[in-house]
């Protein structure tokens, strides 16, 4: 195990020797050139590259969402044509899922924190880590290029036979973009899994790992096992589209439902790629801001693995009305209910963590409470959809749209923003303005519910998804939803502004502003290039607040 550390640190030293007189005590100050950022192998700098990437594409996806909600204010399709509307929601879905939700938390916080949390100097493969960012950017830009080439109108799911025969959009280009991003995902998953297995500091046993690391371990396994299937499936769509090979098109002897099997084999577990990292963030937040060890540590750790495994058993619930066998539907429906068990284990354990804790309502904690609210609504409405009978009523309606926005977007955004605020002092060395942070967190939570709760009602009443014209009685709910989207938009703009402000004018952050446990808080803010002067030795369970309290009071006295 020790040889790994030596090799990694040696490679960092050899890289840094090329540049003269660099300040290695602060990773942000170790080089100011563009080259020092674009060719870095420092996991912390790559995390910031990811932060810029995902933020940029989140803005593009957000603008598309804004146009969609603007169109839906009136029952008539008067802003954009039906064809344009199809392209709008497709690009919104592709960009938000593949370019933001999947890479957001692992790419930014996983990269930044996993080595720090386990007491390593970098990830196992620093260059593959950089390559993963380039793969991400290349695929993402290709996806955006497909937008300029006329866009895709298939929905983000690329359902056959429409996508392989009738669709006149840039399906192959967008598919290729997603194919390339898949490699980025595999690289990240591989790097995390190997790092967590092989590079833990002495004494950092599996059950002393922070739960954030456990969640990312489970996520990286899904990335490794699921993503190749999606990549090949998208490739098969291109093969059928270009060379007319009969795979999915019934007129050529294929089976369209085969595509759905292959697609959802990845894309259902992909939901857990998005939400498991957010759950990892929540475990850290609930512990830190109630100053208590996480209740039922082992159960939360194992429930991450359980979600990763059971997540592969349930994909058929997307196809309950597709013409799939009723018996398969029965099995998939029953198995889908199983996912609720590990999810509930987590939520109950987090709330039990609060019991008799010393709770503070700092910004990250408000996001953590927001997570519980949105995840509970999103998760429980998922059970409605997993019911065979109920699904016949609400399938392909706004009920589904509301459900997956609550569970993937709501929960992941809460995790992302909570993590961004919580680790912002560590990443930038600056504190953000607390009052603004709390206000923005509340505005985002309210805006989110305002936007998506009316969609549950719309869906239940029969409003189908993917339509930009609708009967007038739905208008009031659509206006509510669009108004909520405006509030949500304002909520998102606030962190952009004050976080950017804090980088330049914020108060200097101490090493451990929250009184948190975890090795990342033992380093200065921002951490040095090598993370640790000497590799730390771990001799206690995680979330041990007694020692931290003593150390902090010691620092205060000195």
């Amino acid at each position: 195990m020790s040889t790994d550390h030596v090799e990694t640190s040696a490679s960092i030293v050899s890289v840094s020797r090329h540049e003269h007189d660099i300040d290695t005590s602060n990773y942000l100050k170790a080089g100011y050139t563009l080259k020092s950022w674009l060719l870095t192998v420092d996991h912390k700098r790559i995390a910031l590259l990811y932060l810029f990437g995902v933020t940029f594409f989140f803005i593009i996806g957000g603008i598309l969402a804004f146009l969609i909600r603007l169109e839906l204010v009136t029952p008539k399709g008067d802003l954009v044509s039906s064809d344009t509307y199809n392209r709008l929601f497709t690009q919104h879905g592709i960009i938000m899922i593949f370019l933001f939700l999947v890479p957001a938390i692992p790419g930014v916080f996983g990269n930044f924190l996993i080595p720090l949390m386990i007491g390593a100097r970098d990830l196992a493969f620093p260059r593959i880590n950089l390559a993963s960012w380039y793969m991400y950017m290349a695929g993402a830009l290709l996806t955006v290029v497909s937008m300029a080439m006329g866009g895709v109108d298939t929905g983000w799911t690329f359902y056959t036979p429409y996508s392989t025969t009738f669709s006149n959009g840039a399906v192959v280009t967008a598919g290729l973009g997603i194919f390339i991003i898949g490699f980025s995902s595999v690289f990240t998953g591989l790097n995390f899994a190997v790092t967590i297995h092989k590079m833990r500091a002495p004494g950092m046993t599996w059950f002393r790992l922070p739960l954030f690391v456990w969640a990312h371990y489970a996520t990286s396994l899904i990335m490794l096992l699921g993503t190749p299937v999606l990549a090949i499936t998208i490739l098969l769509v291109a093969v059928e589209r270009i060379w007319k090979v009969g795979l999915f098109d019934p007129s050529l002897g294929g089976d369209p439902i085969l595509f759905q099997h292959l697609f959802w084999f990845y894309s259902h577990p992909a939901v857990y790629i998005m939400i498991l990292p957010a759950m990892g963030v929540m475990s850290e937040l609930f512990s830190t801001f109630s100053k208590k060890p996480v209740f039922g540590y082992e159960f939360i750790a194992m429930s991450s693995l359980a979600i990763a495994i059971v997540g592969f058993f349930v994909w058929g619930h997307h196809m309950l009305v597709s013409g799939q066998s009723e018996f398969a539907g029965l099995i998939f429906s029953a198995l889908s209910f199983l996912v609720a068990i590990p999810s509930a284990v987590k939520v109950f354990n987090w709330t039990a963590t609060l019991y008799k804790g010393s709770i503070s309502f700092s910004t990250p904690m408000i996001y953590a409470f927001g997570f519980i609210g949105l995840f509970a609504i999103g998760g429980l409405t998922g059970l409605f959809l997993a019911c065979l009978g109920m699904d016949y009523h609400v399938h392909d309606t706004y009920f589904v749209v509301a459900h997956f926005h609550y569970v993937m977007v709501g929960a992941t955004i809460m995790g992302f923003l909570g993590a961004l605020h919580y680790w912002w002092p560590k990443m930038t060395g600056k504190m953000y303005p607390e009052g603004w942070g709390q206000l923005a967190a509340i505005v985002i939570f309210l805006g989110f519910n305002f936007t998506f709760f009316p969609q549950f009602l719309l869906g239940y009443l029969g409003m189908p998804r993917h339509y930009h014209e609708y009967v007038p009685e739905f208008q009031i709910l659509h206006i509510l939803s669009s108004a909520g989207a405006m509030i949500l938009g304002i909520g998102y703009l606030m962190p952009f502004t004050y976080l950017a402000y804090s980088v330049f004018y914020g108060k200097k952050a101490p090493a451990n502003p929250w009184g948190a446990t975890g090795l990342e808080w033992r380093t200065p803010s921002p951490p040095p290039v090598h993370n640790f002067d000497s590799i730390p030795t771990v001799d206690s369970k995680p979330y041990d607040y007694r020692t931290i309290r003593e150390e902090l009071s010691h620092v205060a006295r000195a």
Binding site: D4, L225, F265, E326, A328
Partner: protein
């Protein structure tokens, strides 16, 4: 855990034996293709191919001599493949058990 341990050295004889076994199995595959076994055609071809793949993975790719973690990776991958095929077949094999008027 021990990284300085040198790679296990496999005697040349083992490689040759595995190679011969692969050739023999290929010959069997070809011969069996000429015999019509009805329903058994595909299962037999898959069984022979699986044995060959296992030989390659275990000996040529050194999985037999590797640490347990590598074995685990192999088994998890195979398990995932079985999941994909198994659950997809749970649809295809039962799709026409009952005929609904919409079909």
């Amino acid at each position: 855990m021990n990284h300085v341990m040198p790679d296990h050295v496999v005697p040349l004889r083992v490689y040759l034996l595995v190679f011969i076994a692969l050739i023999i199995l290929t010959a069997i595959t070809v011969q069996v293709a000429y015999i019509d076994l009805g329903l058994l055609n595909t299962p037999i071809a898959i069984i022979i191919a699986s044995i060959k793949a296992s030989l390659v993975v275990l000996y040529f790719m050194h999985v037999r001599y590797s640490e347990k973690l590598i074995l685990l990776v192999v088994f998890v991958s195979i398990f995932t493949l079985i999941l994909l095929f198994g659950f997809a077949l749970s649809d295809y094999l039962t799709r026409y058990w009952i005929m609904l008027p919409i079909r």
